[in-house]
């Protein structure tokens, strides 16, 4: 049983919309289950958070966390979808993964996503900007 099968056996009931490719597993997870899935990836499987990517699509704003399982070279990518475009809110994973602090602040800065439970929810790159950036990556929608 490889690590992907092991993960699916343990967390399969909490995920949906699986896209499985060689050494890549993308899947959707509900916000309420995010911390449990992330805790399993980070603490039980010893994955490392590479980064997270926000994308605005027609169904809402997606945040895709990219966890690298270095021992096997696999990526596990939980995806959270927020449909409220005016007030996108989701759970922060920073209390579990310290290394997520900056990337969540960057997404707050550029996309206006609020991460509940983040220890320091303030802009990262535009902290000193005289007017604030105004979430520049939200200027257009993609398919």
């Amino acid at each position: 049983m490889d690590r992907t099968d092991e993960f699916l056996k343990e967390m399969g009931n909490k995920i949906s919309e699986q896209i499985r490719k060689p050494k890549r597993l993308y899947f959707r997870v509900e916000n309420k289950d995010l911390l449990e899935v992330v805790e399993y990836l980070f603490k039980k499987m010893a994955c490392r958070l590479s980064t997270a990517t926000a994308t605005e699509v027609h169904r809402g704003i997606e945040v895709l966390y990219q966890f690298s399982h270095d021992a096997s070279g696999c990526y596990f990518c939980p995806r959270v979808v927020m449909t409220d475009l005016k007030n996108p809110v989701m759970s922060s994973i920073t209390p579990v993964v310290r290394g997520a602090e900056w990337i969540e602040r960057e997404m707050f800065d550029f996309w206006g996503i609020k991460f509940e439970g983040h220890p320091r929810m303030e802009p990262l790159l535009a902290r000193e900007h005289p007017k604030g950036l105004g979430h520049p990556y939200r200027f257009r929608r993609t398919t």
Binding site: R48, T55, L64, L125, H129, T142
Partner: protein
């Protein structure tokens, strides 16, 4: 004793780029550090989404002047992850050759700067002296000393002339002798040891918690290296060791980099031997990129460079995420700088080989009325200087 604040930056002799650190000190000891990034506005991710895939490769090459081939390699890996294209064997060796030469020159650049920062300019002069022949090798291979323009989706843009291989091998032999000498010096030199051992220690657990990468994490005992963990290009075809040390201090970071230079020389030699003997195409044409998502990464000199590309079947990405290694390595300062003397803080800040233009690749300044750079930067700069003056002097 009362706590004081020492600002480092935004413009400081230590930093080649504009950054701002606030050190909270109690006497001579740093008790806390705050990092304020965001002084460079380039909007690479946004621009990339308006370029074709081929243009994006040229764009990401310009994110960083030092690791200017690591971003293109990670970018083409991401696009190739979407379209599952095979890379010709010769192209694999050329990619690895260029990537490893870049590691040698980047580590030598850092070594020289580190020597300079601790006032040991002999190290700086020797390291940079032997970085120069590496740049000459790049010039022979690509025609450029930097920004080589070698990467393409499906292979590489330029072949290595087999007639140039003997000359490249000759330069490499000379560099190898000097690097072995530098490794011995690093191992024996009492000045380096007294200045760097047990300075700015990053524990293994902190390296894991901060998700640090590259020499920063390997010096703390975390054995992660993309070249071995996901061996793309020729990394599965060549022999090399992943250098890992345990102490996590600045000296161990130096040792990891110096020994990695020697491993890189071994890899380059294996690639040159293969390129002298094997023939074949260097590029598989990719006619279209299907809809999908792709992850590409490469072990840059500073650690894992990560690119994520999302496509919709057109000739440009709808999302292109770039994460440079410094973005995850710089926050480790919050662990490694606490409790050390002020005099050690600067070399500790420099020890992760931070690259701020990589870190801030995506910041985009806009006018609220429309998408354009339309703020008075001079006025904003003066306002901020005045604010800092008031914060520090209270008037």
């Amino acid at each position: 004793m009362s706590k004081n604040t020492i600002p480092v930056g935004p413009f400081h002799p230590l930093l080649e780029e504009a950054e701002y650190f606030t050190l909270q000190v109690d006497g001579e000891t740093v008790v806390d550090i705050d990092l304020d990034i965001g002084w460079m506005h380039r909007g690479h991710e946004f621009i990339s989404e308006q370029k074709t895939f081929t243009q994006s490769i040229y764009l990401v090459e310009r994110i960083c002047g030092i690791c200017s081939t690591s971003h293109p390699i990670a970018c083409v890996h991401a696009i190739e992850d979407v379209c599952n294209v095979e890379i010709p064997e010769r192209a694999c060796y050329i990619r690895t050759l260029v990537g490893e030469l870049e590691r040698i020159h980047s580590h030598l650049l850092w070594l020289g700067l580190a020597g300079h920062f601790i006032g040991y300019d002999t190290v700086w002069m020797w390291a940079w002296k032997y970085r120069e022949p590496v740049l000459q090798m790049f010039e022979i291979i690509s025609g450029n000393r930097n920004h080589y323009g070698m990467m393409r989706v499906g292979g590489v843009a330029k072949d290595v002339d087999p007639a140039a291989v003997p000359e490249l091998s000759k330069i490499l032999d000379m560099i190898e002798k000097k690097m072995i000498m530098i490794a011995k010096v690093a191992n024996d030199d009492p000045v380096l040891k007294s200045r760097l051992v047990n300075v700015g220690v990053l524990s293994k657990q902190d390296a894991i918690n901060f998700c640090a990468v590259g020499p920063t994490s390997r010096a703390s005992g975390v054995p992660a290296d993309v070249r071995r963990d996901e061996p793309n290009d020729a990394y599965g075809l060549v022999d090399f060791k992943v250098i890992v040390t345990e102490n996590g201090d600045v000296y161990d970071k130096l040792v990891v980099r110096v020994l990695e230079i020697i491993e890189s020389i071994k890899i380059v030699r294996q690639c040159l031997d293969k390129l002298a003997n094997i023939q074949g195409p260097i590029l598989n044409n990719v006619k279209e990129i299907p809809p999908g998502e792709g992850i590409g990464r490469y072990e840059a000199p500073r650690g894992e460079v990560f690119h994520y590309v999302r496509t919709d079947g057109t000739n440009r990405p709808i999302r292109h995420k770039v994460r440079a290694p410094s973005f995850v390595n710089i926050p480790t300062f919050m662990a490694s700088c606490k409790g050390i003397p002020i005099a050690d803080a600067l070399i500790t800040l420099a020890a992760v080989d931070p690259c701020y233009c990589c870190t801030e690749r995506s910041l985009k300044v806009v006018d609220h009325n429309r998408d354009s750079l339309n703020i008075n930067l001079l006025a904003a700069s003066r306002t901020r200087t005045e604010e800092i003056r008031r914060e520090i002097h209270g008037r």
